[in-house]
């Protein structure tokens, strides 16, 4: 199964050269793999923010909730808690998840909501035509900062580690197979998985050459993914602004009870709601 039937007939309107194509291709491959292994496709739900990245909702023949700017993550968490049998994948943008709705990202990590968050980090607001985001490098000339952003970017992986994320990985939109691996690992992780993809924006911030020069794949043994300090050291190698090697791969992975486990499954024998209420009232006086 190559997953081609996963792609919807909706017209794709990303710019030529956009890194979103690679992400789309690989999430498709990852989904095809898990459905090929027998995970029912109808148990997958994709939730997206608003931005170029969000269009991925239209491009898949998969259950989707194309939500609002910055707020995809609580929607995803709400779906998962309502039905823990679902596999919930959340595609968000950097403006979306790191600016507009950062708090939800932090809290999803804190709670260990069992969802997979994939950030299309093109380090720019694409759909609104090129303003800086929290991961734009210092000096970036966006349309709202024509003289260059004076602020330093955040390092989202570092923030996620501090927030309690139990799975942290990074990919690059031009490294296809490792991206697929990252998506599969994330989807298979029980708990909150955070996957940041350095995504090329061909139109507003084309960092292809920069990334090609700087990225490297974490090799077996480079890092102890169960160890906070080890993960952090590698995460901090590159600060999203200065020149430095940029590690790709899984940085951190630990086990912790998930948010959904706090809510035991629905009780049986509670169909007669009026009866339950009358019982309650009886005991109430």
């Amino acid at each position: 199964m190559n997953g081609s039937d996963l792609i919807s007939p909706a017209q794709n309107t990303w710019c030529p050269g956009c890194g979103n194509f690679g992400i789309q291709h690989m999430i498709k491959a990852a989904i095809a793999e898990i459905t090929g292994e027998g995970f029912p496709r109808e148990r997958i739900v994709m939730v997206t923010g608003i931005g170029c990245h969000g269009k991925i909702a239209d491009y898949f023949n998969i259950n989707t909730y194309y939500a609002i700017h910055g707020r995809a993550i609580p929607v995803a968490a709400g779906i998962k808690v309502a039905n823990p049998d679902l596999k919930v994948i959340c595609h968000v943008g950097d403006g979306d998840a790191y600016a507009e709705g950062l708090d939800h990202l932090v809290f999803a990590a804190k709670r260990n909501a069992d969802i997979t968050v994939i950030v299309h980090d093109n380090r720019v607001y694409g759909l609104t035509t090129g303003q800086y985001t929290p991961t734009s490098p210092a000096g970036f000339k966006g349309r709202s900062t024509p003289e260059g952003v004076p602020e330093h970017p955040i390092n989202p992986l570092e923030l996620m580690l501090a927030s309690g994320a139990t799975h942290i990985a990074r990919g690059y939109s031009r490294r296809l197979q490792p991206m697929k691996q990252a998506f599969l690992e994330g989807m298979r992780h029980r708990g909150f998985s955070f996957i940041e993809i350095l995504q090329i924006c061909a139109t507003y911030f084309n960092l292809t050459d920069y990334y090609n020069d700087h990225v490297y794949d974490l090799a077996e043994g480079d890092i102890d993914t169960g160890d906070y300090e080890s993960a952090l050291a590698t995460i901090r190698e590159w600060d999203y602004s200065a020149d430095a090697p940029i590690a790709l791969g899984t940085f951190y992975r630990v086990g912790r009870p998930t948010f959904e486990e706090n809510f035991p499954a629905r009780k049986e024998g509670m169909e007669d709601r009026e009866g339950l209420i009358r019982d309650f009232l009886q005991g109430h006086r």
């Binding site: 739900v45 998969i62 929607v75 309502a82 009232l281």
Partner: protein, 552 residues
């Protein structure tokens, strides 16, 4: 009608609310119907709290200014209520905390000290003194205590009570009425029960007065009811999590007040576009902004009517007492699912935190509206066009179905579109749902009428004004009309209610007459408004006076 008004007052942290509820319970066991108004500032210890318990033969829903009994645990309970204390008011006070008072001093502090009891038992002493003064059996008090006080504290409370009971003689006698009692609940609790009745699976809330206690109530009873309760990071998280939950098929409600509702408006609009059912309990309090968090107002009516960008149908219900709160919270949840729209239960502090005798058998049965579910045949389209505008629902996992919810303008399958024609068609789909809902509501009693049927002056009000308006209008021989549904506005039933009226007076807890504005919107004229905007509900006397002025 036989009735009593009892005020108990003291400092925050002295258990005034609990004491008030105990008094209410005593009356309940004597066969009275009760209403309790609880007044407290936004602080945790100190200040002045008071509860007014009104007990009567028949259902009541408002407090009186004139008091039969005052139970004063602090000096403020005397000083701040001086004009409510008449010559024949029976005043009991703690001789230590209250220095200036006329009435019956009880050495409560001394008793508590001698019994080495914690200070919080002072209110138990006061209640015992009240029982003795009012000729209420100590056995009844003991049985009420045993139900409300934790096992390990019961002895010390009974000891203190025993001493206080002996510290005063009977002053008058509250007779038993022989009626079967009714449980006393707050509006929040009745709303919670209504939501449960309507099918609630999940309640999500962030604390905010006056609906925090709805969150607490449901959180406490997740074993009694099949409900999951979640308290997330903020109201944006609340609303969006709730929409995700609804997408997955859970009947979900949220609760907040105006400030938190602000943060839900973007999600509300998303509910509109993605046709996600959601029920929002909005407990109003005086604004703007933080305002007076623990007081009451009806200042958010037009805000909830119009919140969220763009145009989409919504249901807004406005219960006036517990039975209506129960029925219409259930109805709101069910209708929101039937029409896949947001529903708002518009309440306020008066209703949410007021305590009333609740008669479930007197509550109208909520409409048994069920969601239209997909029959599994053919291709599933989340936004399929139908005559009613309602598209059949499916939830993941549904084999063979592609369930695509979307915040963008979309086609029937849920794919984004920017096509002019399709956008128009989808907007018309929404209008059809609104029209269908309005038609369906025609089948229910959505305008409540009372008072003198032939009176030519009609007192109009909404929500928690019910109790005061009904009684005041009865005194004055006026007719009353109250919409139980504010949107879609029940135009026909309102017209009928106004039949024969030549003057309409709106009674509202706000400064600009928002119901009057809504009525004018729908082509009805309003002659006068009687407004109160100081954070307090009308008392019966105050409203009667203001109304008779307005009528004159």
């Amino acid at each position: 009608m036989r009735e009593y008004s009892v005020l108990i007052g003291g400092k925050a942290g002295e258990g005034i609310n609990t004491a008030g509820l105990t008094i209410a319970s005593l009356f309940d066991h004597l066969g009275y119907r009760i209403y309790m108004y609880f007044d407290y500032p936004s602080l945790i210890r100190g200040g002045h709290n008071f509860a007014i318990i009104r007990a009567a033969e028949k259902k009541v829903g408002t407090h009186r200014d004139t008091l039969d009994v005052v139970l004063a645990l602090d000096q403020n309970s005397i000083d701040r209520h001086a004009d409510q204390i008449r010559n024949d008011t029976v005043v009991l006070y703690d001789t230590y905390a209250v220095k200036r008072a006329e009435g019956y001093g009880i050495p409560i502090n001394q008793i508590v000290e001698e019994e080495k009891a914690p200070a919080i038992t002072r209110n138990s002493a006061m209640m015992a003194a009240f029982c003795r003064a009012a000729g209420i059996d100590r056995e009844l008090l003991e049985s009420v205590f045993r139900r409300s006080i934790k096992e390990k504290y019961i002895d010390v409370n009974l000891r203190v009570a025993e001493r206080a009971y002996g510290a005063i003689d009977e002053v008058f006698r509250i007779p038993g009425l022989g009626q079967t009692g009714l449980p006393a609940l707050t509006g929040n609790e009745a709303i919670g029960l209504g939501l449960v009745r309507g099918g609630l699976d999940t309640y999500i809330g962030y604390p905010m007065t006056p609906t925090s206690n709805l969150l607490h109530f449901l959180a406490e009873h997740t074993r009694a009811f099949p409900v999951r309760v979640i308290h997330p990071e903020n109201e944006i998280g609340v609303m969006l999590m709730a929409l995700g939950s609804a997408y997955a098929g859970n009947k979900t409600a949220v609760g907040t007040s105006g400030g938190g509702f602000c943060l839900m408006t973007e999600g509300l609009s998303l509910a509109g576009m993605s046709e996600m059912p959601i029920t929002i309990v909005e407990g109003q309090r005086p604004g703007p902004s933080t305002g007076m968090p623990t007081y009451t107002a009806q200042g958010d009516l037009h805000f909830v009517l119009n919140a969220g960008q763009g145009e989409f149908p919504r249901l807004i219900v406005s219960p006036g007492d517990l039975e209506e709160a129960y029925t219409w919270s259930a109805a709101a949840l069910m209708l929101s699912w039937k029409y896949q729209i947001p529903a708002i239960v518009l309440a306020d502090k008066t209703l949410c935190e007021g305590t009333f005798s609740f008669d479930i058998d007197a509550a109208e049965r909520p409409p048994e509206a069920s969601p239209y579910l997909w029959d599994g045949e053919g291709e599933y389209r989340r936004y399929a066009l139908t005559d009613t505008g309602i598209s059949p629902l499916a939830f993941p996992p549904a084999e063979g179905a592609l369930i695509k919810a979307n915040s963008y303008t979309h086609d029937e399958s849920g794919f984004t579109t920017e096509d002019a024609a399709r956008a128009g068609i989808m907007q018309e789909k929404a209008l059809r749902k609104a029209a269908g809902l309005a038609r369906e509501l025609e089948g229910y009693r959505t305008v409540s009428v009372s008072g003198s049927p032939d009176a030519t002056t009609v007192v109009a009000s909404f929500g928690s004004q019910k109790g005061a308006v009904l009684e005041a209008a009865e005194h004055l021989g006026l007719k009353t009309a109250r919409p139980l549904v504010l949107n879609p506005f029940p135009v026909r039933q309102w017209k009928e209610a106004l039949d024969g009226a030549d003057s309409v007076i709106c009674v509202e807890n706000n400064a600009t007459g928002q119901l009057a504005r809504l009525l004018r919107n729908h082509g009805f004229s309003v002659d006068e408004t009687v407004l109160k905007y100081d954070g307090r509900p009308f008392s019966l006397e105050e409203l009667t006076a203001r109304l008779s002025e307005a009528v004159a």
